[in-house]
């Protein structure tokens, strides 16, 4: 973004600083908005991408969340959680709305992994395939489990923050995540056991 000035006293990022940035943002501080965007867009993007496996959709969600932030920033209540959890809560609503509209509960057929990269080495292809398998396994989980994995494992939220986002007790988050992980481990072990033959590099890259 343009016009971003470096303010060393504000660069020490802490969770509490988000609330201060939000306060400044409401007062019209453009720098505060840019800084909050810079700090939190990665998590929102990762969460949205983990939930949809579409780079374009994840970017749309990220933009939507920050546009909503502009309208609803005054609704943030610090007693109910952190800014980070609040933003991811917004992202969750946007993602669920989009998925409902686009009926993309699974993205296997329409997966959009962004622009095609230059032809990588075979190791890279192997690693990417493993990641793709994992991502497909995450997308095949029931929605509650998928949310728990995306929030706790991909966006790296604590159980408490995840509980705030999902609006359920911490124990529920923990049990959902544990069931999701058990399912994922079982599915991935099954895939690995089948030892599906890897496609050659030239097949992958066309």
């Amino acid at each position: 973004m343009k016009n971003v000035t470096c303010r060393p006293e504000r660069m020490a990022a802490t969770e509490n600083e988000d609330a201060l940035l939000l306060r400044d943002l409401i007062a019209g501080d453009e720098w505060a908005f840019t800084e909050l965007y810079r700090r939190r867009r990665g998590e929102i993007y990762r969460f949205a991408f983990a939930m949809t496996r579409s780079a374009a959709l994840a970017q749309d969600v990220m933009q939507d969340v920050f546009l909503r932030l502009l309208e609803d920033a005054t609704r943030f209540d610090p007693s109910r959680g952190t800014v980070r959890a609040w933003l991811l809560g917004c992202a969750r609503h946007v993602v669920l709305d989009r998925l409902r509209v686009e009926s993309r509960w699974t993205a296997e057929a329409t997966a959009d992994d962004g622009p095609s990269a230059p032809c990588p080495a075979e190791d890279t292809v192997f690693a990417e395939q493993r990641l793709a398998q994992l991502h497909a396994a995450i997308l095949s989980l029931p929605m509650e489990y998928r949310e728990a994995v995306a929030l706790c494992e991909i966006a790296e939220l604590s159980y408490a923050e995840c509980a705030t986002v999902l609006g359920c007790p911490i124990g529920t988050v923990r049990s959902r995540l544990h069931r999701a992980r058990a399912l994922l481990a079982r599915r991935l072990t099954g895939i690995d056991d089948r030892k599906a033959p890897l496609r050659r590099v030239n097949e992958v890259c066309g």
């Binding site: 990762r46 780079a55 933009q63 546009l67 622009p115 493993r130 544990h178 481990a185 991935l188």
Partner: protein
């Protein structure tokens, strides 16, 4: 303290969650005793590694400067909208305060007039002898009236005879009794002099402040 199930310990260990020594020793013992538990631990550790790799692979693509600029534009627009709505809110509060003040003043004035009317009720009807020359020189009939106004003959009255003796009676008439005059205050009244004939029948009337009465009546008629 309740004992956590071994599956929970396995996942907690693989995720690097804090565990107390007792739980750690229990997990180690279970791993040694059961190949299935040991396999679960390995699978969960592998899953943690893969999830970390997936997380690292999910990098935000560099947004087009146009998108960022559009977002900043949206920020500026949203801020401007918020400023306008705040200004409108402040104006609204001020207007409401002003309206409340005006209403309070109007109520106070009405109350004051009603109270004044009650106090003067006892003396409002007074009779003074006069003659028919009051018709041509109304100022001489009531000395308290600053500007003399003419008497208007009342419809269906016997009329005014120049030679007859008349009495002038000052009355306060409720505005609501007029068929065409609608005042803002329902209990408002108008002062008038009634010219009573020798038989006691009203023959003519004059309003102390006729302009107010007829202008209001005309305005109301126009509105209707």
């Amino acid at each position: 303290m309740t004992r956590r199930p071994i599956e929970e310990l396995v996942i907690g260990y693989a995720r690097g969650e804090p565990m107390d020594i007792e739980e750690l020793e229990r997990l180690r013992a279970e791993c040694t005793a059961s190949a299935a538990v040991a396999s679960d631990v390995r699978a969960q550790e592998e899953l943690t590694r893969r999830l970390a790799a997936l997380r690292d692979a999910m990098r935000v693509p560099k947004a087009a400067p146009v998108d960022d600029e559009r977002l900043l534009e949206s920020f500026r627009a949203a801020h401007a909208r918020r400023q306008i709505s705040r200004r409108r809110l402040r104006l609204g509060v001020r207007a409401a305060g002003l309206a409340a003040s005006v209403a309070a003043v109007a109520v106070a004035a009405t109350l004051y007039r009603i109270e004044g009317g009650r106090m003067s009720e006892g003396v409002s009807v007074r009779a003074t002898d006069t003659d028919a020359s009051a018709l041509s020189a109304p100022g001489s009939a009531a000395q308290s009236v600053p500007e003399p106004v003419v008497f208007y003959p009342l419809p269906f009255s016997p009329g005014v005879s120049p030679g007859a003796s008349y009495s002038v009676v000052r009355v306060r008439i409720p505005v609501s009794s007029f068929p065409v005059v609608y005042a803002a205050e329902p209990y408002a009244s108008v002062e008038a002099d009634i010219l009573l004939g020798p038989d006691g029948i009203p023959a003519a009337i004059r309003f102390i402040d006729p302009v107010e009465v007829f202008v209001t009546a005309a305005a109301d008629l126009k509105e209707r």
